[in-house]
Symmetry: C2
Subunit: 224 residues, 2 copies
Amino acid sequence: MRLVISTCSAQYVGKLSAHLPEATRLLLVKADGSVSIHADDRAYKPLNWMSPPCSLNESKNESGEVLWTVTNKAGEQLIITLHEVHNDVSHELGVDPGLIKDGVESHLQELLAQHIDTFGPDWTLVRREFPTAIGPVDILCRDNKGATVAIEIKRRGDIDGVEQLTRYLELLNRDPLLKPVRGIFAAQEIKPQAKTLAQDRGIECLVIDYDALRGIADPSLRLF
Amino acid sequence: MRLVISTCSAQYVGKLSAHLPEATRLLLVKADGSVSIHADDRAYKPLNWMSPPCSLNESKNESGEVLWTVTNKAGEQLIITLHEVHNDVSHELGVDPGLIKDGVESHLQELLAQHIDTFGPDWTLVRREFPTAIGPVDILCRDNKGATVAIEIKRRGDIDGVEQLTRYLELLNRDPLLKPVRGIFAAQEIKPQAKTLAQDRGIECLVIDYDALRGIADPSLRLF
DNA sequence: TGATATATCTCGAGT
DNA sequence: ACTCGAGGTATATCA
């Protein structure tokens, strides 16, 4: 990893054209070949960058300034002019073991499929990722009266999710073996707009407590 | 901007829970308060981070190791244990003038409005950003037979764009002065899903060659 | 490889 | 403050 603090300007030509006026910034060159230009704001996002695989060529322009030309296979280019270099250090970091995550949509779906009685007593799972022509329904199940229920699961429930479930329901209700199929929209948090739209379409909303569900699934995973 | 090279481990508890085993990494602290943990790969994306506004508290644990506790208003926490610090430098960068872009959706819209005959000979523009109760329609025009056409423009055409156009068409067709109004979905790239949905709803799809269009609009801008 | 859904999306504009 | 849309989205999964 190479860290360069430099007063620079830059030009990107690729998926779009973009230009960066002269200012002092951090140039970050990683071992994977990526180059990114960071200002002192915008959180972790660089002003401009080139993703790997790409190659960095260092040269000088007619004014004697250092020129970095970063090119990828698609011919996209990031050209950086280093007007002045204030610092230039390199460090060997080695391979990183990476991040271990917990608490994403697939976990929610798994947990809810395993504990289908979250929705009501005596409910039964038909299958997870039930296939349809326009994509898989997260969970298809039957309620205690044997009626078919399609469940769409999101971490954050917004209007898109309701639209998606609506499309599935329309399709599923064309199948005489399944119909009538009703819908449940389940999420850790449901936006008011989404709730309104769902109600308007006769779709039930369910807010899920992920921690509680995880606690039921495996008490050893409780945080407290 | 503060750059620290350190052998560290970290824990994030917030929108999800995540853990980072011990390894040597770059810790990047920006003037906006953000903290990010970079490995020597994964392009510009950090392994873990905290977005501003947040506050960084530096302390020591019982083993005498440096502990960074980064907290935001929502109570999300990123806790970094610095087992060993290899380098620690700070630089004042000042405010950045930012990136100037070209080739985004608004340009496409401008170009297509100027060259409405891209859609057919003798078409006429009614107006760009035609206002409706649920938002502006990108382009409203009339075809060579005087029939009203609503055009939705995207750089990448996915299912959301078709939904959006569908809502506009429903609304516009309630206006006796305009109806019948048909729709065209125009994008540089149209996803198969979106194409299928559009066809199902009687919406025409049109793939646009941005460079060609720009070439027509201003030959001096041609790349070749 | 291509298509699809997710993301601690991020970021900016508009209300 | 919040919502909505766009992104050089990037990234992972699955066919």
